[in-house]
């Protein structure tokens, strides 16, 4: 169909104001202005930077990564010696950050669910305890909490020769937490294989029980049997193969503990603070998620004859998880980010060993800041991809 073009027909020259009032022209103009300003600022900063670097007699670039760092790191998950390169320091820092963050995420999720369910308890006292737990922890700074655990708790622990001990296996003192380290012996691999077999068997059992239930209506106590298989089979194999596992026990030798595995007090304080602080946020997410499922759902399930436990499992939790998982995952992201506060108490995480020590020593501020930010950004991006994917698969189908 022929459309009459309004406004500026071709062939007639347009006045400047008419031209400036065109929507498309304005759009291009605005964008051009913004782009020019950003480029100009970037250029200005770049010139300043090169002048600054010249004045300090430095050159930009990643050559320093291969040179030896020369300082020592108090505790690390990945092996490290003082002669290793800066790039190795970067990796060691990432390892330490991920170590504390992953353990914290696991514990904070469990504790958060526990507190969130306490908060929903019909028992007024229990719900109030949970409410005040959440309020107190959310309204004081995390850094203060980390310092509190470090300075007021873990630093005040007794000296090694007066350690708090648990069954003479675990020792807690102002040098850290000491525990037995497992030393696998000859043939321990068989037990490890048995663990894998048990996991597979439990899974198969669950699938089979579900199938049988759907096919015949008969129920099978898959949970308890599965639990039995999961722990029983490896234990049986372990005993049959002659218990091929010994422990390296930590023991007091002189002024300190030798042997076993240990984590420094800074790790314990950081872990505890992260777990407790974030569990408050997790609890709120859990509470809000379960509250978001309307009471009518429970009533409908009850009126169909479902018991409370089954109602929770089949009706409430599947719906609540849609509301709980997104804030839970962004909370995990915050745990990773907040683990950078380790620097305040000397736990050698990425920021502490790389952004502070390495930066001070090498002076390569731009490169190092960029590398550290790159790490956090890639963690953040992968988590948000996972979150988007989850949201996509659980989205309720509506018109």
């Amino acid at each position: 169909m022929a459309v009459l073009e309004k406004g500026s027909p071709r062939g007639r020259s347009r006045s400047l104001s008419e031209w400036l009032n065109d929507e498309r022209v304005r759009s291009v103009l605005y964008q051009a202005i913004v782009a020019i300003v950003v480029i100009a600022v970037a250029r200005y900063l770049f010139t300043n930077t090169s002048e600054n670097l010249q004045a300090r007699g430095m050159s930009a670039g990643f050559d320093f990564l291969t040179s030896s760092a020369g300082f020592s790191i108090a505790w690390s998950v990945l092996p490290y010696t003082a002669g290793d390169s800066y790039f190795h320091v970067y990796l060691v820092g990432i390892g330490n950050t991920l170590m504390v963050a992953l353990v914290a995420i696991l514990c904070t999720t469990l504790l958060g669910f526990f507190v969130g369910i306490m908060r929903l308890s019909k028992n007024w006292l229990i719900s109030q305890i949970a409410a005040w737990y959440v309020e107190i922890l959310r309204n004081t700074p995390l850094l203060l909490q980390i310092l509190f655990w470090f300075l007021a708790v873990f630093s005040l622990l007794p000296r090694p020769n007066k350690s708090l001990s648990f069954l003479d296996l675990f020792f807690l003192n102002n040098r850290g937490l000491y525990m037995p380290a497992p030393v696998p012996g000859e043939g321990f691999n068989v037990t490890l294989i048995a663990v894998l077999v048990a996991i597979a068997a439990t899974y198969a059992l669950a699938v089979w029980a579900r199938k049988r239930h759907f096919a015949t209506g008969q129920r099978f106590p898959a949970f308890w049997t599965g639990l039995g298989v999961l722990f029983g089979l490896p234990l049986l194999v372990f005993l049959v193969t002659g218990s091929p596992l010994s422990f390296d026990y930590a023991a007091l030798k002189g002024f300190n503990f030798q042997g076993g595995a240990s984590v420094p007090p800074a790790f314990c304080a950081l872990l505890l603070a992260l777990v407790i602080y974030h569990s408050a946020y997790m609890a709120e997410a859990v509470r809000a998620g379960i509250m978001s499922v309307s009471h009518g759902q429970t009533e409908a399930a009850y009126s169909l004859g479902l018991r409370p436990g089954m109602t929770l499992r089949l009706v409430i939790i599947p719906q609540a998880m849609r509301a709980v998982v997104p804030p839970m995952i962004s909370n995990w992201m915050n745990v990773v980010k907040n683990s950078s506060l380790a620097i305040a108490i000397g736990y050698p995480d990425l920021v502490a060993v790389y952004m502070q020590t390495s930066l001070n020593q090498s002076g390569h501020a731009i490169e190092i800041v960029a590398m550290v930010m790159l790490f956090y950004m890639s963690v953040s991006l992968s988590i948000s991809f996972a979150l988007n994917y989850y949201n996509k698969i659980v989205q309720l189908k509506e018109r």
């Binding site: 309020e135 309204n139 850094l143 310092l147 630093s155 950078s340 506060l341 920021v351 800041v369 950004m377």
Partner: protein, 449 residues
């Protein structure tokens, strides 16, 4: 059909009876909420004993065994064998926790600055005052200049002097406006026009009345502030809770406007603007604040001209503002997404252009929805401001640590930290409860503005 006639049986409802005594009142409440069954009762007992134990321990530590008068931590320890708190040390250090190393003789300036801000914003809670938005905007835009001059002292450049005079003028204007509102005028402008007898003159003349009045007061304020003789106080001496509030206050007041601009940019249809805004927001949201602070103090000096040599506090404030703006942008974006598309369409159908649509229709509704998140963000920022202690600014947290390293008070960590925790808890808790109150009173979009 049914019609009433006088032969009908008259329905007289039975009188309500009181409920069974064990289901209402204190006993009913206890049965329902604490002792609903054996398991419930057990939990109640366990919970109550835990609370009693902690309350008792805290009371013993904080009150019964506490030491209120001592000259060193050693004295405290000797007096209590470590079983009680040493509040004496907290008391001795209190001045530092609040003001850092700001000279004692000059601390009245900090107090006065805080008082001025409180008085400036007080009209928010006066029901009769109109134009409350303008009251807030005037404080946010000009108070920082007044405060900077008061806190820094020394000689100011001409621009600062002018802005300080503007701030003083607006402060006076706000309170004259309050008086006008409570003496029967619609606003300060209304009062000025009517009192000078310009009410019956042409409307176009009114602005000259305002200009003359403003100019006269501004000039008086300029002369008034020129006579100030405030001793200079370096920012390196700023500290304690004062510094924490300065940094977070600036962060909070810049976060909202810059967050709104970034959020609009991210939702813009223009790709260049959208890409820049999205990149900015995502970059600064995905990294921890401490890395942004490190960036500010190590990388930013490299970016700036050699001659500039910027103040560390300024760099930190810039970093905090960037961080807060990125977070606020996402909150604003969430609020904008919650606004029904019909509102945009209605505004466009009425012929409003983009900016009018945003400022008159969309933003007022979106901001209301965002209140809880905005306040949550403010609380988060106030807590996160403690991170500046890691890069060596003497905020309340670093002062707390310093007091435990003071030779006289060596090892005194718990008490100052409990004090700081209490300070933060009170501020944040009050803020969050107030936001919940606001949320209830403002209502879901149809309440009063």
């Amino acid at each position: 059909m049914a019609e009433l006639t006088h032969t009908d049986a008259v329905f007289r409802p039975k009188p309500s009876q009181p409920p069974p005594p064990n289901t209402v009142g204190a006993i009913g409440w206890l049965r329902k909420n604490l002792f609903g069954g054996p398991f419930d009762s057990l939990m109640t007992i366990v919970g109550a004993s835990l609370i009693a134990y902690f309350a008792y321990a805290l009371f013993q530590y904080g009150v019964v065994n506490a030491v209120w008068e001592a000259d060193s931590y050693r004295e405290c320890l000797d007096a209590t064998k470590g079983a009680g708190a040493c509040w004496a040390g907290v008391d001795k250090w209190m001045n530092n926790y609040l003001y850092g190393r700001y000279p004692d003789a000059e601390q009245w300036r900090v107090n006065l600055g805080g008082l001025i801000l409180a008085v400036w914003l007080a009209p928010f809670w006066f029901p009769k005052v109109t134009h409350k938005i303008m009251v807030g905007v005037s404080a946010v835009l000009t108070f920082p200049f007044l405060a900077a001059q008061m806190f820094l002292g020394g000689d100011a450049i001409w621009f600062m002097q002018g802005m300080v005079a503007v701030a003083l003028t607006l402060f006076a204007a706000v309170w004259l406006h309050v008086i006008a509102c409570y003496t029967g005028y619609k606003s300060l402008g209304d009062a000025l026009v009517r009192l000078t007898g310009f009410a019956d003159k042409d409307d176009r003349l009114h602005k000259y009345v305002f200009l003359v009045a403003f100019g006269a007061v501004w000039f008086a304020a300029l002369i008034f502030q020129a006579n100030w003789d405030l001793k200079p106080v370096q920012t390196t001496n700023w500290g304690g809770l004062f510094l924490t509030l300065v940094i977070s206050g600036i962060g909070i007041s810049t976060a909202l406007p810059s967050g709104v601009i970034l959020a609009l940019g991210r939702r813009s249809k223009m790709p260049v603007i959208r890409v820049f805004c999205t990149a900015f927001i995502e970059l600064f949201r995905s990294v921890p604040l401490i890395t942004i602070l490190f960036m500010a103090v190590t990388m930013m000096p490299l970016f700036l001209p050699v001659t500039l040599n910027p103040d560390k506090l300024v760099l930190v404030i810039v970093a905090v503002c960037i961080f807060a703006a990125a977070y606020m942008a996402e909150i604003v974006r969430g609020g904008l997404q919650a606004i029904n598309n019909g509102q945009y369409e209605a505004a466009q159908a009425m012929g409003l252009n983009y900016w009018k649509m945003m400022t008159l229709i969309v933003m007022p509704q979106a901001l209301k929805l965002m209140i809880p998140n905005i306040v949550g963000n403010f609380i988060g920022l106030l807590k996160d401001t403690t991170l500046v202690s890691i890069i060596g600014l003497y905020d309340i947290l670093l002062m707390v640590r310093a007091s435990g390293q003071d030779p006289k008070w060596l090892g005194m960590h718990t008490e100052p930290m409990l004090f700081a925790a209490a300070v933060f808890f009170v501020i944040c808790f009050v803020m969050s409860k107030y936001s919940q109150h606001l949320e209830r009173t403002i209502g879901g979009g149809y309440g009063r503005r």
